[in-house]
């Protein structure tokens, strides 16, 4: 073989595409088939990103490029019992295993009038007119190989459609399970959430692993918030450290809409979250918060882009990171204020706490402003715990380790407190109590 491993793996995906496409259900609309073909073509041109590319210069995906992934996946071997920790009471529950909807592990009771919550495959059969106008039109695969791969290879996903003025009280809990096989697999969940005019919906996306072994999940979630809609989204990345996770989260905000997103990452070995919000109508408000806590040799890369297209919109980003061991975090935040987007109020903050001297953080906030009457701020910090605060706690009788854990918890607390879904907040709290040394004292003290 004269080609490099990277090239061969790119080709492998291109080669298996034909067979994959032939296996798609006949009901798949021609327009989407065409989109898939364009996407695989684009991927074959782009290949896997390298460190030479600006958007990937701190995140090395060579381990993905050289792993021979298969795209044929099974959905068996996952029991309801093994998913109990991820099921939340009082929620509408959908489970995907390796990117395929599993009805037996889902609970779609009590959907309000007119609300559609189903698998993407089912939605394409029953409601193509609601899916096609949006699917693949939001997240662009032009310059993103993993979005291209997803667009070519998505097998299933979740479709949520909330009609105008409808309020979905119960959170919709999506559990996306990675179930590794003997050989590495890759799967590409594709989720589409359309929140109609003046509607309201809360969605939780959990990425979890059942079993052991390497796999790649490259999900794309697209959210359309129509005028005056309110969407609250939570993502919990809690996969095993053998998982590669390359996700794109694409938001389109209509006039007066309000979307908040909380992205919590503590799992996965190599994780990339692209979060792109487009404020397309006046009065839109996007809140994009995140917390990552990584250790060992974990890598987490949060790549944010907020496009202020319309005037009078607000965006607030607060991402916080806690890094231990030899972990590495990348934060890249770009705010792009388009010509005419006057009275934009954009704020972006990234704070990082390095617990270990071997952890590395690259934080890179960027502003591009093409309007003259705007308020934009950004800031980024990388630091250690405040020794004066540690001394203060110790002087009250709290041991040093507990004091450090308490302050680490406190660092994360403003993200924790903003989580409105109780079950998600409790899961995150429990994780922190377990992870932090002397967590029992932290539990008592907060």
């Amino acid at each position: 073989m004269t080609t490099t491993m990277t090239a061969s793996n790119t080709e492998r995906f291109v080669e298996v595409f034909e067979a994959f496409e032939q296996g798609l259900p006949a009901s798949q609309p021609e327009s989407l088939r065409q989109q898939r073909r364009q996407a695989i073509e684009r991927f074959s041109t782009l290949g896997f990103p390298t460190l030479r590319q600006e958007e990937w210069r701190f995140t090395n995906v060579a381990p993905i490029a050289r792993t021979p992934f298969g795209v044929d996946v099974a959905t068996d071997g996952v029991t309801a019992d093994s998913l109990q920790p991820f099921f939340y009471d009082g929620t509408i529950q959908l489970t995907l295993v390796n990117g395929r909807f599993v009805p037996e592990l889902s609970d779609l009771h009590s959907l309000p009038e007119g609300v559609i919550v189903c698998s993407l495959v089912e939605a394409l059969q029953k409601h193509p007119e609601k899916v096609e106008p949006h699917l693949g039109r939001l997240a662009s695969f032009e310059n993103h190989p993993f979005v291209a791969l997803n667009t070519a290879f998505y097998g299933d996903g979740v479709f949520i459609w909330v009609p105008r003025r409808q309020v979905v009280e119960q959170p919709i809990n999506l559990v996306l399970v990675g179930r590794p096989a003997a050989d590495p697999i890759a799967f590409f969940p594709r989720n589409l959430i359309v929140s109609g005019e003046s509607s309201q919906v809360t969605v939780v996306e959990q990425y979890v692993t059942v079993g052991e072994g390497a796999y790649l999940t490259a999900p794309v979630t697209e959210i359309v918030a129509e005028d005056n809609a309110v969407v609250d989204h939570y993502k919990l990345q809690r996969e095993s450290t053998e998982a590669f996770h390359m996700a794109t989260f694409q938001l389109l905000l209509g006039r007066d809409s309000n979307v908040s997103s909380h992205s919590i990452s503590w799992g996965g070995g190599l994780v990339r979250n692209d979060v792109n919000a487009v404020l397309d109508g006046q009065g839109g408000e996007a809140t994009l918060n995140g917390l990552y806590m990584v250790e060992g040799s974990q890598v987490v890369d949060n790549h944010m882009r907020v496009d202020h297209v319309a005037a009078n919109c607000d965006s607030h980003e607060l991402y916080k990171g806690i890094l231990e061991g030899k972990a590495r975090a990348v934060f890249n935040g770009r705010i792009y204020v388009h010509r005419g987007a006057q009275k934009t109020d954009a704020k972006q903050t990234n704070r990082n706490l390095l617990i270990s001297p071997d952890a590395i953080c690259n934080s890179n906030p960027q502003l591009e402003i093409f309007a003259d009457d705007v308020k934009c701020t950004h800031g980024s910090t990388v630091g250690q715990l405040d020794e004066t605060a540690i001394f203060y706690l110790r002087s009250r009788g709290i041991g040093e380790e507990a004091a450090r854990s308490l302050l680490t918890y406190a660092f994360a607390a403003d993200i924790v407190e903003r989580i409105k879904v109780g079950a998600v907040r409790r899961d995150l709290e429990e994780f922190l109590f377990r992870r932090l040394p002397k967590g029992d004292i932290v539990r008592q003290a907060v």
């Binding site: 203060y392 706690l393 002087s395 009250r396 009788g397 004091a403 308490l406 403003d414 003290a445």
Partner: protein, 258 residues
């Protein structure tokens, strides 16, 4: 046996010598005031007692209840009964004032062989203590010192002190920057905590506090040494005459800290 015995204490921070031979004995039930101008070493002494690691003790020793205090970690000192009210209390966002206190009290109780206090008992206990410093209940549930006014922070220190039930309480300029109402509340808090088996070391820059907290002994710390000790009337004399008259016996070769 004295509660606290400081012998010939020398300490420096980086290359600068700050304490140049401090001797001090505090017995149970006593209130000692330490006065002195800025830079004389008052706060350094307080911080060393609490266990701040920025200072290097180059000579001398500190015995607390007969034990070598300098060998103890700050949290062990706290559990053994030393409490320092900070000159600049630290804001700790994300940690609730009341839950933090409960964790601290239980660390201390465990160390002393007492049972941990449960949430119900603790709440009853804390409500009682709040009255001592007229604490607003809202401050109980807020993060430690976050967004507190200067007076509220100092009052919160006295509140912590009352909850943690110390043997030796060190007040590091707790009176600085307080208006007269807040000062009285702080002083009343301290007075109500006076006990035969408890001692106080009150460090202050201003004589005013000593109108409300009446000390048994007043010490003057100048340029890293205690240059004079006396009864409460010494404080009044200092108020009258300042510190300059005390500097002279030291001789011309000893500059006074700024």
């Amino acid at each position: 046996m004295s509660m606290l015995e400081i012998k010939n204490l020398h300490a420096r921070v980086e290359e600068q010598e700050i304490l140049k031979g401090v001797d001090l004995v505090v017995n149970e039930g006593e209130i000692h005031a330490i006065m002195g101008p800025n830079g004389s070493g008052k706060s350094t002494l307080a911080q060393i007692l609490a266990g701040k690691e920025d200072y290097e003790v180059t000579a001398g020793e500190i015995l607390y209840k007969g034990q070598d205090l300098l060998e103890m970690a700050p949290e062990v000192r706290a559990r053994e009964g030393i409490f320092m009210a900070f000159q600049y209390p630290v804001e700790i966002p994300g940690v609730s004032n009341v839950y933090f206190l409960k964790a601290a009290l239980n660390a201390i109780r465990t160390h002393r062989g007492l049972e941990e206090m449960d949430a119900m008992d603790f709440l009853v206990y804390v409500r009682e203590k709040m009255k001592i410093v007229k604490m607003d209940e809202a401050l109980l549930n807020r993060p430690v010192n976050e967004g507190f006014s200067g007076g509220e922070k100092k009052r919160n220190e006295i509140f912590h002190m009352s909850v943690l039930d110390p043997v030796l309480a060190v007040l590091d300029e707790t009176d600085s920057g307080l208006d007269i109402d807040a000062l009285q509340i702080v002083a009343e808090g301290v007075n109500s905590l006076r006990r035969e088996d408890r001692a106080f070391l009150v460090i202050t820059h201003y004589q005013r506090l000593l109108n409300y907290i009446v000390p048994d002994v007043v010490h003057v710390l100048l340029d890293g040494r205690i240059v004079r000790s006396g009864g409460k009337e010494l404080a009044l004399e200092l108020e009258d005459k300042g510190y300059v008259w005390l500097q002279e016996p030291l001789g011309a070769g000893e500059p006074v800290g700024a």
